[in-house]
Symmetry: C2
Subunit: 286 residues, 2 copies
Amino acid sequence: MRQMTEDELTQTVLDAHAKTSDARVREIVMSLLRHLHAFVREVRLTEAEWMKGIELITAAGRMSDAKRQEVILFSDLLGVSALVNMVSAGVPEGGTESTVIGPFFVEGAPERKSGESIALRDSGEPMIIRGKVVGLEGETVSHARIDVWQTDANGMYDVQDPEQPEHNLRGFYRSNERGEFLVKTIRPTSYPIPTDGPAGELVRAAKRHPWRPAHLHAMIAAKGYKPLTTHIFDAEDELLDQDVVFAVKPSLAREFKRNDSEQEARRHGVKAPFLELDYTFVLARA
Amino acid sequence: MRQMTEDELTQTVLDAHAKTSDARVREIVMSLLRHLHAFVREVRLTEAEWMKGIELITAAGRMSDAKRQEVILFSDLLGVSALVNMVSAGVPEGGTESTVIGPFFVEGAPERKSGESIALRDSGEPMIIRGKVVGLEGETVSHARIDVWQTDANGMYDVQDPEQPEHNLRGFYRSNERGEFLVKTIRPTSYPIPTDGPAGELVRAAKRHPWRPAHLHAMIAAKGYKPLTTHIFDAEDELLDQDVVFAVKPSLAREFKRNDSEQEARRHGVKAPFLELDYTFVLARA
Protein backbone atom coordinates (compact mmCIF):
# COMPACT_ATOMS: atom_id res chain seq x y z
CA MET A 1 0.00 0.00 0.00
CA ARG A 2 1.36 3.42 -0.90
CA GLN A 3 0.37 6.99 -0.20
CA MET A 4 -2.48 8.21 -2.46
CA THR A 5 -2.62 11.48 -4.36
CA GLU A 6 -5.71 13.69 -4.05
CA ASP A 7 -7.09 12.44 -7.36
CA GLU A 8 -6.44 8.84 -6.38
CA LEU A 9 -8.28 9.35 -3.11
CA THR A 10 -11.32 10.73 -4.95
CA GLN A 11 -11.18 7.82 -7.39
CA THR A 12 -10.92 5.34 -4.52
CA VAL A 13 -14.01 6.85 -2.89
CA LEU A 14 -15.89 6.73 -6.22
CA ASP A 15 -14.84 3.11 -6.76
CA ALA A 16 -16.04 2.21 -3.27
CA HIS A 17 -19.53 3.47 -4.18
CA ALA A 18 -19.66 2.05 -7.70
CA LYS A 19 -21.44 -1.10 -6.55
CA THR A 20 -24.48 0.77 -5.28
CA SER A 21 -27.23 -1.46 -6.61
CA ASP A 22 -30.00 1.10 -7.17
CA ALA A 23 -29.01 2.85 -10.40
CA ARG A 24 -30.58 6.18 -9.43
CA VAL A 25 -29.03 6.21 -5.95
CA ARG A 26 -25.68 5.38 -7.57
CA GLU A 27 -26.05 8.27 -10.04
CA ILE A 28 -26.85 10.70 -7.23
CA VAL A 29 -24.11 9.49 -4.87
CA MET A 30 -21.42 9.46 -7.56
CA SER A 31 -22.31 12.98 -8.72
CA LEU A 32 -22.45 14.25 -5.13
CA LEU A 33 -19.03 12.72 -4.43
CA ARG A 34 -17.47 14.29 -7.52
CA HIS A 35 -18.84 17.74 -6.72
CA LEU A 36 -18.12 17.61 -2.97
CA HIS A 37 -14.54 16.51 -3.60
CA ALA A 38 -14.08 19.13 -6.34
CA PHE A 39 -15.31 21.78 -3.89
CA VAL A 40 -12.86 20.67 -1.17
CA ARG A 41 -9.93 20.62 -3.60
CA GLU A 42 -10.88 23.92 -5.25
CA VAL A 43 -10.98 25.94 -2.03
CA ARG A 44 -8.32 23.84 -0.23
CA LEU A 45 -10.69 23.51 2.71
CA THR A 46 -8.84 23.51 6.03
CA GLU A 47 -9.71 21.19 8.90
CA ALA A 48 -10.88 24.16 10.97
CA GLU A 49 -13.20 25.29 8.14
CA TRP A 50 -14.45 21.72 7.72
CA MET A 51 -15.19 21.56 11.45
CA LYS A 52 -17.11 24.85 11.20
CA GLY A 53 -19.22 23.29 8.43
CA ILE A 54 -19.77 20.14 10.51
CA GLU A 55 -20.89 22.32 13.42
CA LEU A 56 -23.31 24.36 11.25
CA ILE A 57 -24.92 21.24 9.77
CA THR A 58 -25.12 19.56 13.16
CA ALA A 59 -26.68 22.64 14.76
CA ALA A 60 -29.21 22.89 11.90
CA GLY A 61 -30.22 19.27 12.40
CA ARG A 62 -30.41 19.55 16.16
CA MET A 63 -32.57 22.67 15.90
CA SER A 64 -35.06 20.98 13.59
CA ASP A 65 -38.23 19.41 14.88
CA ALA A 66 -41.90 19.10 13.94
CA LYS A 67 -42.25 22.90 14.06
CA ARG A 68 -39.11 24.26 12.47
CA GLN A 69 -36.84 22.84 9.78
CA GLU A 70 -33.51 24.65 9.81
CA VAL A 71 -31.90 22.26 7.29
CA ILE A 72 -34.59 23.23 4.76
CA LEU A 73 -33.95 26.89 5.60
CA PHE A 74 -30.25 26.39 4.75
CA SER A 75 -31.21 24.74 1.46
CA ASP A 76 -33.63 27.60 0.76
CA LEU A 77 -31.00 30.28 1.45
CA LEU A 78 -28.45 28.57 -0.81
CA GLY A 79 -31.00 28.58 -3.63
CA VAL A 80 -30.87 24.77 -3.70
CA SER A 81 -34.57 24.36 -2.92
CA ALA A 82 -35.55 26.78 -5.69
CA LEU A 83 -33.24 25.03 -8.16
CA VAL A 84 -34.56 21.57 -7.23
CA ASN A 85 -38.05 22.92 -7.73
CA MET A 86 -37.05 24.31 -11.12
CA VAL A 87 -35.34 21.17 -12.44
CA SER A 88 -37.92 18.74 -11.13
CA ALA A 89 -41.27 20.50 -11.11
CA GLY A 90 -42.24 19.58 -14.66
CA VAL A 91 -45.46 21.58 -14.60
CA PRO A 92 -47.03 21.38 -18.05
CA GLU A 93 -48.07 24.52 -19.95
CA GLY A 94 -51.21 25.92 -18.37
CA GLY A 95 -50.71 24.23 -14.99
CA THR A 96 -50.21 26.26 -11.82
CA GLU A 97 -46.50 26.54 -11.15
CA SER A 98 -45.00 25.12 -7.99
CA THR A 99 -42.44 26.62 -5.65
CA VAL A 100 -40.53 25.67 -2.47
CA ILE A 101 -42.27 24.22 0.59
CA GLY A 102 -40.17 26.24 3.06
CA PRO A 103 -39.32 25.39 6.67
CA PHE A 104 -42.71 26.07 8.28
CA PHE A 105 -45.14 23.48 6.98
CA VAL A 106 -46.58 21.57 9.95
CA GLU A 107 -48.31 18.19 9.86
CA GLY A 108 -51.67 17.88 11.58
CA ALA A 109 -53.23 21.28 10.96
CA PRO A 110 -57.03 21.09 11.33
CA GLU A 111 -59.69 21.03 8.61
CA ARG A 112 -61.51 24.34 8.02
CA LYS A 113 -65.02 24.45 6.65
CA SER A 114 -65.59 26.50 3.52
CA GLY A 115 -65.59 30.16 4.56
CA GLU A 116 -64.17 29.39 8.01
CA SER A 117 -61.29 31.66 8.99
CA ILE A 118 -57.76 30.36 9.54
CA ALA A 119 -57.03 33.62 11.39
CA LEU A 120 -57.74 32.68 15.01
CA ARG A 121 -57.19 36.15 16.39
CA ASP A 122 -58.03 39.64 15.16
CA SER A 123 -54.82 40.96 13.67
CA GLY A 124 -54.60 41.89 10.00
CA GLU A 125 -56.56 43.18 7.04
CA PRO A 126 -59.34 40.64 6.27
CA MET A 127 -59.01 38.75 3.00
CA ILE A 128 -61.33 36.36 1.21
CA ILE A 129 -59.98 33.92 -1.37
CA ARG A 130 -62.56 32.34 -3.66
CA GLY A 131 -60.56 29.29 -4.68
CA LYS A 132 -61.15 26.71 -7.33
CA VAL A 133 -59.33 23.54 -8.30
CA VAL A 134 -59.45 22.37 -11.90
CA GLY A 135 -57.51 20.04 -14.19
CA LEU A 136 -55.53 21.02 -17.25
CA GLU A 137 -58.55 20.56 -19.52
CA GLY A 138 -60.64 22.73 -17.26
CA GLU A 139 -62.35 19.79 -15.57
CA THR A 140 -63.59 20.34 -12.03
CA VAL A 141 -61.50 18.72 -9.27
CA SER A 142 -63.73 18.07 -6.29
CA HIS A 143 -62.66 16.65 -2.91
CA ALA A 144 -59.18 18.12 -3.32
CA ARG A 145 -57.38 18.88 -0.08
CA ILE A 146 -56.02 22.43 0.00
CA ASP A 147 -53.55 23.08 2.83
CA VAL A 148 -52.78 26.75 3.43
CA TRP A 149 -50.38 28.44 5.86
CA GLN A 150 -49.03 31.93 6.33
CA THR A 151 -47.58 34.30 8.92
CA ASP A 152 -49.68 36.51 11.11
CA ALA A 153 -49.60 40.30 10.65
CA ASN A 154 -46.48 40.41 12.87
CA GLY A 155 -44.57 38.39 10.28
CA MET A 156 -44.37 35.25 12.38
CA TYR A 157 -45.83 31.78 11.89
CA ASP A 158 -47.75 30.33 14.84
CA VAL A 159 -44.86 27.93 15.54
CA GLN A 160 -42.46 30.85 15.97
CA ASP A 161 -44.66 32.88 18.26
CA PRO A 162 -45.89 31.66 21.65
CA GLU A 163 -48.49 34.47 21.69
CA GLN A 164 -50.40 32.95 18.75
CA PRO A 165 -53.03 30.23 19.22
CA GLU A 166 -51.94 26.80 17.96
CA HIS A 167 -52.59 26.39 14.22
CA ASN A 168 -53.26 30.09 13.81
CA LEU A 169 -53.28 30.83 10.06
CA ARG A 170 -53.03 27.17 9.05
CA GLY A 171 -55.50 24.54 8.06
CA PHE A 172 -56.88 22.68 5.12
CA TYR A 173 -60.02 23.10 3.04
CA ARG A 174 -61.78 20.65 0.72
CA SER A 175 -63.00 21.59 -2.71
CA ASN A 176 -66.73 20.97 -3.19
CA GLU A 177 -68.58 19.33 -6.09
CA ARG A 178 -67.88 22.39 -8.24
CA GLY A 179 -64.16 22.36 -7.29
CA GLU A 180 -64.67 25.42 -5.14
CA PHE A 181 -63.54 26.40 -1.64
CA LEU A 182 -63.60 29.65 0.29
CA VAL A 183 -60.62 30.75 2.42
CA LYS A 184 -61.03 33.44 5.04
CA THR A 185 -57.76 34.86 6.24
CA ILE A 186 -55.78 38.11 6.55
CA ARG A 187 -53.54 39.80 4.04
CA PRO A 188 -50.14 38.10 4.05
CA THR A 189 -47.21 40.29 4.96
CA SER A 190 -43.55 40.31 4.00
CA TYR A 191 -41.39 38.97 6.82
CA PRO A 192 -37.78 38.17 7.69
CA ILE A 193 -36.82 34.52 7.84
CA PRO A 194 -35.62 33.58 11.34
CA THR A 195 -31.91 34.34 11.74
CA ASP A 196 -31.50 33.07 15.28
CA GLY A 197 -30.15 29.70 14.08
CA PRO A 198 -27.10 28.59 12.11
CA ALA A 199 -28.69 29.62 8.78
CA GLY A 200 -28.73 33.16 10.15
CA GLU A 201 -24.92 33.10 10.20
CA LEU A 202 -24.92 32.64 6.44
CA VAL A 203 -27.32 35.56 5.92
CA ARG A 204 -25.20 37.85 8.08
CA ALA A 205 -21.90 36.75 6.51
CA ALA A 206 -23.29 37.52 3.04
CA LYS A 207 -24.74 40.84 4.25
CA ARG A 208 -28.08 39.81 2.76
CA HIS A 209 -31.43 41.12 3.93
CA PRO A 210 -33.49 38.29 5.44
CA TRP A 211 -36.85 39.22 3.87
CA ARG A 212 -39.40 37.23 1.94
CA PRO A 213 -42.14 39.01 -0.04
CA ALA A 214 -45.70 38.56 1.24
CA HIS A 215 -47.26 35.22 0.34
CA LEU A 216 -49.69 32.51 1.31
CA HIS A 217 -48.45 28.90 1.10
CA ALA A 218 -50.71 26.32 -0.51
CA MET A 219 -50.38 22.58 -1.00
CA ILE A 220 -52.98 20.79 -3.10
CA ALA A 221 -53.61 17.05 -3.11
CA ALA A 222 -56.30 15.41 -5.22
CA LYS A 223 -56.78 11.82 -6.30
CA GLY A 224 -55.52 11.22 -9.82
CA TYR A 225 -53.54 14.49 -9.94
CA LYS A 226 -49.92 15.45 -9.26
CA PRO A 227 -49.53 17.05 -5.83
CA LEU A 228 -48.80 20.78 -6.01
CA THR A 229 -46.80 22.86 -3.52
CA THR A 230 -46.96 26.56 -4.29
CA HIS A 231 -47.33 30.13 -3.01
CA ILE A 232 -49.69 32.96 -3.85
CA PHE A 233 -47.60 36.15 -3.81
CA ASP A 234 -48.87 39.68 -3.29
CA ALA A 235 -48.11 41.42 -6.62
CA GLU A 236 -47.78 44.76 -4.86
CA ASP A 237 -44.91 43.65 -2.64
CA GLU A 238 -41.73 45.62 -3.40
CA LEU A 239 -39.53 42.66 -2.45
CA LEU A 240 -40.88 40.35 -5.16
CA ASP A 241 -37.60 40.40 -7.08
CA GLN A 242 -35.39 40.02 -4.04
CA ASP A 243 -36.84 37.08 -2.14
CA VAL A 244 -34.10 35.85 0.23
CA VAL A 245 -34.91 32.24 -0.75
CA PHE A 246 -35.28 32.84 -4.53
CA ALA A 247 -38.75 31.25 -4.66
CA VAL A 248 -40.78 33.83 -6.58
CA LYS A 249 -42.22 32.92 -9.96
CA PRO A 250 -43.99 35.76 -11.77
CA SER A 251 -46.99 33.60 -12.62
CA LEU A 252 -47.74 33.18 -8.90
CA ALA A 253 -48.18 36.90 -8.13
CA ARG A 254 -51.69 38.34 -7.85
CA GLU A 255 -53.27 41.70 -7.08
CA PHE A 256 -55.57 41.56 -4.08
CA LYS A 257 -58.72 43.67 -4.76
CA ARG A 258 -60.08 46.03 -2.14
CA ASN A 259 -63.81 45.81 -1.44
CA ASP A 260 -65.45 48.63 0.55
CA SER A 261 -68.94 47.14 0.65
CA GLU A 262 -70.21 46.88 4.25
CA GLN A 263 -72.89 44.50 3.05
CA GLU A 264 -70.49 42.06 1.38
CA ALA A 265 -68.13 42.30 4.33
CA ARG A 266 -71.00 41.32 6.66
CA ARG A 267 -71.82 38.36 4.45
CA HIS A 268 -68.28 37.07 5.01
CA GLY A 269 -68.31 38.00 8.67
CA VAL A 270 -65.50 40.56 8.33
CA LYS A 271 -65.23 44.33 8.58
CA ALA A 272 -65.06 46.55 5.49
CA PRO A 273 -62.85 47.29 3.74
CA PHE A 274 -61.58 43.81 3.00
CA LEU A 275 -59.48 42.20 0.25
CA GLU A 276 -60.68 39.73 -2.33
CA LEU A 277 -58.94 37.28 -4.60
CA ASP A 278 -60.22 34.75 -7.09
CA TYR A 279 -57.60 32.02 -7.52
CA THR A 280 -57.75 28.87 -9.62
CA PHE A 281 -55.27 26.06 -9.04
CA VAL A 282 -54.73 24.12 -12.26
CA LEU A 283 -53.45 20.59 -11.61
CA ALA A 284 -51.76 18.17 -13.96
CA ARG A 285 -52.87 14.53 -13.99
CA ALA A 286 -50.70 12.10 -12.06
CA MET B 1 -39.93 40.48 -13.33
CA ARG B 2 -39.76 37.46 -15.61
CA GLN B 3 -39.28 33.75 -15.14
CA MET B 4 -35.62 32.79 -14.69
CA THR B 5 -33.78 29.98 -16.43
CA GLU B 6 -31.79 27.48 -14.36
CA ASP B 7 -28.52 29.24 -15.14
CA GLU B 8 -30.02 32.61 -14.28
CA LEU B 9 -31.24 31.25 -10.95
CA THR B 10 -27.73 30.01 -10.10
CA GLN B 11 -26.26 33.35 -11.14
CA THR B 12 -28.85 35.21 -9.02
CA VAL B 13 -27.90 33.11 -6.00
CA LEU B 14 -24.18 33.73 -6.64
CA ASP B 15 -24.81 37.47 -7.01
CA ALA B 16 -26.73 37.51 -3.74
CA HIS B 17 -23.65 36.15 -1.95
CA ALA B 18 -21.05 38.24 -3.77
CA LYS B 19 -21.06 40.90 -1.06
CA THR B 20 -19.85 38.51 1.63
CA SER B 21 -17.27 40.69 3.35
CA ASP B 22 -14.81 38.06 4.53
CA ALA B 23 -12.84 37.11 1.41
CA ARG B 24 -12.22 33.53 2.52
CA VAL B 25 -15.85 32.93 3.53
CA ARG B 26 -16.89 34.39 0.17
CA GLU B 27 -14.53 32.06 -1.70
CA ILE B 28 -15.88 29.02 0.16
CA VAL B 29 -19.56 29.98 -0.17
CA MET B 30 -19.30 30.82 -3.88
CA SER B 31 -17.51 27.55 -4.66
CA LEU B 32 -19.99 25.56 -2.57
CA LEU B 33 -22.91 27.23 -4.38
CA ARG B 34 -21.44 26.48 -7.82
CA HIS B 35 -20.82 22.83 -6.99
CA LEU B 36 -24.12 22.25 -5.17
CA HIS B 37 -26.09 23.80 -8.03
CA ALA B 38 -24.08 21.85 -10.63
CA PHE B 39 -24.86 18.64 -8.73
CA VAL B 40 -28.62 19.39 -8.63
CA ARG B 41 -28.70 20.23 -12.34
CA GLU B 42 -26.53 17.27 -13.34
CA VAL B 43 -28.69 14.62 -11.67
CA ARG B 44 -31.99 16.53 -12.11
CA LEU B 45 -32.67 16.04 -8.40
CA THR B 46 -36.38 15.53 -7.71
CA GLU B 47 -38.20 17.11 -4.79
CA ALA B 48 -38.71 13.67 -3.22
CA GLU B 49 -34.96 12.96 -3.48
CA TRP B 50 -34.17 16.40 -2.08
CA MET B 51 -36.50 15.70 0.86
CA LYS B 52 -34.75 12.37 1.47
CA GLY B 53 -31.45 14.27 1.63
CA ILE B 54 -32.95 16.84 4.01
CA GLU B 55 -34.19 14.01 6.23
CA LEU B 56 -30.80 12.26 6.26
CA ILE B 57 -28.94 15.44 7.17
CA THR B 58 -31.51 16.36 9.80
CA ALA B 59 -31.39 12.89 11.34
CA ALA B 60 -27.58 12.98 11.39
CA GLY B 61 -27.64 16.32 13.21
CA ARG B 62 -30.31 15.26 15.67
CA MET B 63 -28.40 12.06 16.49
CA SER B 64 -25.20 13.95 17.26
CA ASP B 65 -24.25 14.90 20.79
CA ALA B 66 -21.17 15.04 23.01
CA LYS B 67 -20.68 11.29 22.58
CA ARG B 68 -21.40 10.60 18.93
CA GLN B 69 -21.01 12.73 15.84
CA GLU B 70 -23.05 11.28 12.97
CA VAL B 71 -22.41 14.28 10.67
CA ILE B 72 -18.67 13.60 10.92
CA LEU B 73 -19.37 9.93 10.20
CA PHE B 74 -21.18 10.95 6.99
CA SER B 75 -18.25 13.13 5.99
CA ASP B 76 -15.86 10.26 6.78
CA LEU B 77 -17.86 7.76 4.69
CA LEU B 78 -17.98 10.14 1.71
CA GLY B 79 -14.20 10.49 1.86
CA VAL B 80 -14.59 14.21 2.51
CA SER B 81 -12.80 14.08 5.85
CA ALA B 82 -9.85 12.20 4.36
CA LEU B 83 -9.66 14.64 1.44
CA VAL B 84 -9.83 17.69 3.73
CA ASN B 85 -7.05 16.13 5.77
CA MET B 86 -5.03 15.59 2.60
CA VAL B 87 -5.44 19.08 1.14
CA SER B 88 -4.99 20.94 4.41
CA ALA B 89 -2.64 18.89 6.56
CA GLY B 90 0.57 20.43 5.26
CA VAL B 91 2.82 18.14 7.30
CA PRO B 92 6.42 18.89 6.33
CA GLU B 93 8.82 16.12 5.28
CA GLY B 94 9.81 14.12 8.32
CA GLY B 95 6.81 15.13 10.42
CA THR B 96 4.28 12.55 11.61
CA GLU B 97 1.38 12.48 9.20
CA SER B 98 -2.10 13.36 10.36
CA THR B 99 -5.41 11.69 9.59
CA VAL B 100 -9.10 12.14 10.34
CA ILE B 101 -10.41 12.76 13.87
CA GLY B 102 -13.46 10.50 13.44
CA PRO B 103 -16.80 10.66 15.22
CA PHE B 104 -15.73 9.32 18.65
CA PHE B 105 -13.41 11.88 20.19
CA VAL B 106 -14.86 12.99 23.51
CA GLU B 107 -13.98 16.13 25.45
CA GLY B 108 -13.11 15.76 29.10
CA ALA B 109 -11.29 12.41 29.20
CA PRO B 110 -9.10 12.14 32.32
CA GLU B 111 -5.32 12.49 32.61
CA ARG B 112 -3.39 9.23 32.93
CA LYS B 113 -0.05 9.04 34.68
CA SER B 114 2.87 7.62 32.72
CA GLY B 115 2.40 3.85 32.60
CA GLU B 116 -1.18 4.03 33.87
CA SER B 117 -3.59 1.92 31.85
CA ILE B 118 -6.42 3.41 29.84
CA ALA B 119 -8.01 -0.07 29.77
CA LEU B 120 -10.31 0.02 32.78
CA ARG B 121 -11.39 -3.58 32.51
CA ASP B 122 -9.61 -6.81 31.63
CA SER B 123 -10.48 -7.47 28.00
CA GLY B 124 -7.77 -7.61 25.33
CA GLU B 125 -4.15 -8.45 24.70
CA PRO B 126 -1.98 -6.12 26.83
CA MET B 127 0.06 -3.55 24.91
CA ILE B 128 2.71 -1.10 26.04
CA ILE B 129 3.56 1.95 23.91
CA ARG B 130 6.80 3.71 24.72
CA GLY B 131 5.97 7.08 23.24
CA LYS B 132 8.12 10.10 22.55
CA VAL B 133 7.35 13.57 21.23
CA VAL B 134 10.02 15.43 19.29
CA GLY B 135 10.26 18.37 16.89
CA LEU B 136 11.36 18.23 13.27
CA GLU B 137 14.99 18.84 14.21
CA GLY B 138 14.85 16.06 16.75
CA GLU B 139 14.48 18.39 19.70
CA THR B 140 12.65 17.02 22.75
CA VAL B 141 9.07 18.25 23.24
CA SER B 142 8.21 18.04 26.91
CA HIS B 143 4.86 18.83 28.54
CA ALA B 144 3.02 17.83 25.35
CA ARG B 145 -0.52 16.60 25.88
CA ILE B 146 -1.14 13.26 24.16
CA ASP B 147 -4.83 12.29 23.98
CA VAL B 148 -5.43 8.67 23.01
CA TRP B 149 -8.66 6.75 22.40
CA GLN B 150 -9.58 3.40 20.94
CA THR B 151 -12.26 0.71 20.99
CA ASP B 152 -12.33 -2.11 23.48
CA ALA B 153 -11.67 -5.69 22.34
CA ASN B 154 -15.37 -5.95 21.38
CA GLY B 155 -14.88 -3.24 18.72
CA MET B 156 -16.87 -0.59 20.55
CA TYR B 157 -15.85 2.71 22.06
CA ASP B 158 -16.96 3.34 25.65
CA VAL B 159 -19.60 5.82 24.43
CA GLN B 160 -21.21 3.11 22.28
CA ASP B 161 -21.30 0.45 24.96
CA PRO B 162 -23.16 0.83 28.26
CA GLU B 163 -21.23 -2.15 29.65
CA GLN B 164 -17.92 -0.26 29.56
CA PRO B 165 -16.80 2.02 32.38
CA GLU B 166 -16.87 5.73 31.48
CA HIS B 167 -13.68 6.82 29.71
CA ASN B 168 -12.59 3.23 29.19
CA LEU B 169 -9.70 3.28 26.71
CA ARG B 170 -9.43 7.07 26.63
CA GLY B 171 -7.32 9.60 28.41
CA PHE B 172 -4.38 11.89 27.99
CA TYR B 173 -0.73 11.59 28.94
CA ARG B 174 1.92 14.28 29.32
CA SER B 175 5.39 13.94 27.89
CA ASN B 176 8.14 14.26 30.51
CA GLU B 177 11.37 16.28 30.42
CA ARG B 178 12.80 13.82 27.90
CA GLY B 179 9.67 14.03 25.73
CA GLU B 180 8.65 10.54 26.81
CA PHE B 181 5.40 8.99 27.98
CA LEU B 182 4.27 5.39 28.55
CA VAL B 183 0.84 4.20 27.43
CA LYS B 184 -0.62 1.00 28.83
CA THR B 185 -3.53 -0.32 26.82
CA ILE B 186 -4.75 -3.34 24.87
CA ARG B 187 -4.18 -4.26 21.26
CA PRO B 188 -6.58 -2.26 19.07
CA THR B 189 -8.98 -4.28 16.98
CA SER B 190 -10.64 -3.74 13.64
CA TYR B 191 -14.29 -2.81 14.06
CA PRO B 192 -17.38 -1.86 12.06
CA ILE B 193 -18.45 1.76 12.20
CA PRO B 194 -21.96 2.08 13.67
CA THR B 195 -24.59 1.62 10.98
CA ASP B 196 -27.67 2.16 13.15
CA GLY B 197 -27.95 5.82 12.08
CA PRO B 198 -28.57 7.59 8.77
CA ALA B 199 -24.94 7.13 7.68
CA GLY B 200 -25.61 3.39 7.83
CA GLU B 201 -28.13 3.80 5.01
CA LEU B 202 -25.34 5.02 2.75
CA VAL B 203 -23.12 2.06 3.63
CA ARG B 204 -25.91 -0.41 2.92
CA ALA B 205 -26.98 1.31 -0.31
CA ALA B 206 -23.41 1.14 -1.60
CA LYS B 207 -23.03 -2.48 -0.43
CA ARG B 208 -19.85 -1.49 1.35
CA HIS B 209 -18.41 -3.34 4.33
CA PRO B 210 -18.47 -1.10 7.41
CA TRP B 211 -15.01 -2.01 8.76
CA ARG B 212 -12.09 0.08 9.88
CA PRO B 213 -8.65 -1.52 10.31
CA ALA B 214 -7.32 -1.69 13.88
CA HIS B 215 -5.92 1.60 15.17
CA LEU B 216 -5.34 3.80 18.17
CA HIS B 217 -6.32 7.47 17.86
CA ALA B 218 -3.88 10.10 19.08
CA MET B 219 -4.07 13.87 19.29
CA ILE B 220 -0.95 15.80 20.31
CA ALA B 221 -0.89 19.37 21.53
CA ALA B 222 2.30 21.14 22.56
CA LYS B 223 3.12 24.81 23.00
CA GLY B 224 4.86 26.26 19.95
CA TYR B 225 3.97 23.29 17.74
CA LYS B 226 1.18 22.55 15.26
CA PRO B 227 -1.50 20.33 16.79
CA LEU B 228 -1.50 16.82 15.34
CA THR B 229 -4.50 14.47 14.98
CA THR B 230 -3.46 11.03 13.85
CA HIS B 231 -3.86 7.24 14.18
CA ILE B 232 -1.41 4.41 14.83
CA PHE B 233 -2.52 1.50 12.64
CA ASP B 234 -1.74 -2.16 13.17
CA ALA B 235 0.42 -3.08 10.15
CA GLU B 236 -0.79 -6.68 10.34
CA ASP B 237 -4.45 -5.77 9.80
CA GLU B 238 -5.77 -7.20 6.53
CA LEU B 239 -8.20 -4.31 6.09
CA LEU B 240 -5.47 -1.64 5.87
CA ASP B 241 -6.17 -0.97 2.19
CA GLN B 242 -9.94 -1.00 2.53
CA ASP B 243 -10.70 1.32 5.43
CA VAL B 244 -14.39 2.28 5.11
CA VAL B 245 -13.47 5.92 5.84
CA PHE B 246 -10.34 6.07 3.63
CA ALA B 247 -8.12 7.31 6.49
CA VAL B 248 -5.11 5.00 6.26
CA LYS B 249 -1.70 6.46 5.43
CA PRO B 250 1.05 3.89 5.01
CA SER B 251 3.47 5.88 7.19
CA LEU B 252 1.12 5.43 10.16
CA ALA B 253 1.17 1.62 10.21
CA ARG B 254 3.41 -0.19 12.71
CA GLU B 255 4.16 -3.77 13.69
CA PHE B 256 3.39 -4.47 17.33
CA LYS B 257 6.14 -6.71 18.82
CA ARG B 258 5.29 -9.68 20.97
CA ASN B 259 7.20 -9.98 24.25
CA ASP B 260 7.04 -13.29 26.14
CA SER B 261 9.12 -12.22 29.13
CA GLU B 262 7.23 -12.86 32.38
CA GLN B 263 9.65 -10.53 34.14
CA GLU B 264 9.11 -7.58 31.81
CA ALA B 265 5.37 -8.20 31.85
CA ARG B 266 5.41 -8.00 35.66
CA ARG B 267 7.33 -4.75 35.50
CA HIS B 268 4.47 -3.25 33.46
CA GLY B 269 1.85 -4.92 35.62
CA VAL B 270 0.50 -7.06 32.75
CA LYS B 271 0.48 -10.75 31.91
CA ALA B 272 2.91 -12.25 29.37
CA PRO B 273 2.81 -12.40 26.45
CA PHE B 274 2.23 -8.71 25.78
CA LEU B 275 2.77 -6.39 22.81
CA GLU B 276 5.25 -3.56 22.62
CA LEU B 277 5.60 -0.55 20.40
CA ASP B 278 8.07 2.32 20.31
CA TYR B 279 6.44 5.31 18.66
CA THR B 280 7.81 8.79 18.11
CA PHE B 281 5.48 11.66 17.21
CA VAL B 282 7.37 14.27 15.17
CA LEU B 283 5.71 17.69 15.35
CA ALA B 284 6.14 20.72 13.11
CA ARG B 285 6.56 24.14 14.68
CA ALA B 286 3.46 26.34 14.78
